[in-house]
């Protein structure tokens, strides 16, 4: 039953994703990608469990590496997206 439930979530979110993202204008496609990268860093939440294990040395190291990689995505992704989006200025916002 668990499998069905998870698949249900998967299918619904894919449809939601298509709906949301097809509305993003071409101008913002690069920030969309880097922002999506940041979101895919959500693996972090899963990596904690592995890195916090005590009974397996190997598992712990794998988990720690996963934490590091996922944090790169989260921190780097959000920061670089914010940096880019900060550059998009409207005509009315006081231009330098």
């Amino acid at each position: 039953m668990e499998v069905v439930f998870l698949t249900f979530i998967l299918v619904l979110s894919i449809f939601l994703g298509f709906e949301l993202i097809s509305k993003v204008p071409a101008t913002l496609h690069t920030p969309l990608m880097s922002g999506a990268n940041a979101i895919s860093g959500i693996t972090l939440a899963g990596a904690f469990l592995a890195a916090g294990m005590v009974d397996s040395e190997m598992g712990k190291w794998l988990g720690t590496a996963a934490v590091a990689f996922a944090t790169i995505n989260v921190v780097g992704g959000y920061m670089v997206t914010d940096r880019m989006l900060g550059m998009f200025k409207s005509k009315n916002e006081g231009r330098k």
Partner: protein, 453 residues
């Protein structure tokens, strides 16, 4: 139980914030707040993740987060906007690696069922090929390795063998999912090789497609990891990312009038040449260009990757401003596949302080291009090649282009008469209303600005 409940509810909240964040990316005016909202969602999800039952020691977690956080923050701060595609490629790769490792580590958490074993395999497979594929994409984009398509005889056979190997080792592992199963390591190795093999046959001009596709894979890998550890938020967030990547891939393919299979499996190297072009190239001097600019009341810039290479975006914007003061209407028309990743040109122009209202899409400019006095083509070639519209024998026939040849006058800024990435001749250069401004784009435009001064 109580804490678990709260954690799960926080995941719901995080998912809502991700969704609103993506929704706000729908307009440049709200996009920045959207990104902030999404990052708050991430913070909530991370804190909730930290409370999970079964985490006993936090030293390793904190260590990993410090290392990752420093690398991420430093690269986000230091990266040049021109190198954004490489950066995104590396981020795709690290996302893939994280999912691979989470899947792998799950094996050490105790006995796994067949279903979990399969999801672990998927996380390792997708994560592994995303990782190595992204590294190759990074190499090609940064030109540390040759960016041309690598195609050799028997490639299909090699790929099929790898695929069979993946299926066999996957099956063998799923039957007996043990931590030290040799099949696991074979799978890991094959997935990485497969990632390399998938990206090497794709040439430089097709990189926007690859990078979008890898983006999508990194999301799907997170999804698979979510299945492996039974975590909803990974599945939701992963599929949002996966959908984003697929949509972008689709847009890129459409903009090149090619199917995804065509991009993935055939290098754009050996193409038959269309009609050979006869005619005379009419060069123009900076001074004469100035007189035409001075008289123009509607100017449209059409940038391509060459603008990024010449670092010309700042002088282009300066010229744009001067022309506006001179009473001209100025716009920047951007083809979907201009640059090395979707939306790359827009970011470069935004960096140069061009207001986003002036950035227009291909479908927006084409119907009114007849009213444009001067179209300035900077470092773009294939995306303005009229053969795509007229010459049925041309390899790029059918690709939607910006119809700059229909503008009253076209200036093409170019170093020399070399053809574009696809190696196709461009009749635009021989057009009646085309003037070639030879030389470095940045210098040419600075020259025109000096004339205005």
């Amino acid at each position: 139980m109580n804490i678990e409940m709260i954690a799960n509810l926080s995941y719901v909240l995080a998912a809502v914030l991700f969704i609103f964040g993506l929704k706000m990316l729908g307009s440049p005016a709200t996009a920045r707040r959207g990104n902030a909202l999404s990052s708050i969602g991430m913070l909530i999800a991370v804190v909730a993740g930290l409370t999970a039952e079964g985490i006993v020691s936090y030293e390793y977690i904190i260590g990993g987060m410090i290392v990752g956080g420093l690398i991420g923050a430093a690269s986000a701060r230091l990266v040049e906007m021109t190198s954004m595609p490489e950066m995104v490629a590396l981020f795709n790769g690290s996302g893939g690696a994280a999912s691979l490792l989470v899947g792998w580590a799950t094996l050490y958490g105790g006995d796994v069922s067949t279903f979990t074993a399969i999801t672990i395999l998927l996380a390792i497979l997708i994560g592994g090929m995303t990782f190595t594929g992204s590294l190759i994409a990074y190499g090609k984009l940064s030109e540390t390795i040759n960016s041309a398509a690598v195609v050799f005889t028997g490639q299909q056979i090699v790929n099929s063998l790898i695929l069979i190997g993946i299926l066999v080792s996957g099956y063998m592992f799923a039957v007996d999912p043990a931590v030290d199963s040799q099949w696991l390591y074979i799978m890991l190795g094959l997935a990485m090789v497969f990632g390399i093999m998938a990206v090497i046959p794709i040439g430089g001009a097709d990189m926007p497609v690859v990078i979008s596709l890898l983006n999508s894979y990194s999301g799907l890998a997170a999804c698979a990891a979510g299945f492996a550890i039974n975590n909803n938020i990974l599945i939701v967030a992963g599929s949002l990312v996966g959908a984003a990547g697929i949509i972008l891939t689709n847009i890129m393919c459409k903009a090149m009038n090619r199917s995804l299979t065509n991009v993935l499996f055939s290098g754009f190297g050996a193409v038959k040449q269309g009609k050979s072009i006869e005619g005379e190239v009419k060069p123009i001097s900076v001074e004469d260009a100035y007189y035409l600019f001075e008289a123009a009341s509607n100017v449209c810039f059409v940038p391509g990757y060459g603008m990024a290479v010449a670092q010309a975006q700042h002088v282009v914007k300066e010229l744009g401003e001067i022309l506006e003061k001179n009473g001209a209407e100025v716009s920047y028309a951007i083809h979907p596949v201009a640059g090395r990743m979707p939306g790359h040109m827009n970011v470069l122009l935004a960096e140069a302080d061009v207001p986003y209202e002036q950035l227009v899409e291909m479908d927006e400019i084409n119907p009114r291009i007849e009213n444009v006095d001067i179209c300035v083509v900077i470092g773009a070639n294939d995306v303005v090649n009229p053969s795509a519209r007229e010459d049925e024998d041309s390899p790029i026939y059918g690709m939607p282009i910006i119809n700059v040849d229909k503008a009253r006058t076209v200036f093409v800024l170019k170093r020399s008469m070399a053809s574009g990435f696809s190696g196709v001749d461009n009749p635009l250069f021989f057009g009646e209303n085309t003037r070639m401004l030879f030389g470095d784009a940045k210098e040419s435009i600075s020259g025109v600005i000096a004339e205005f001064g």
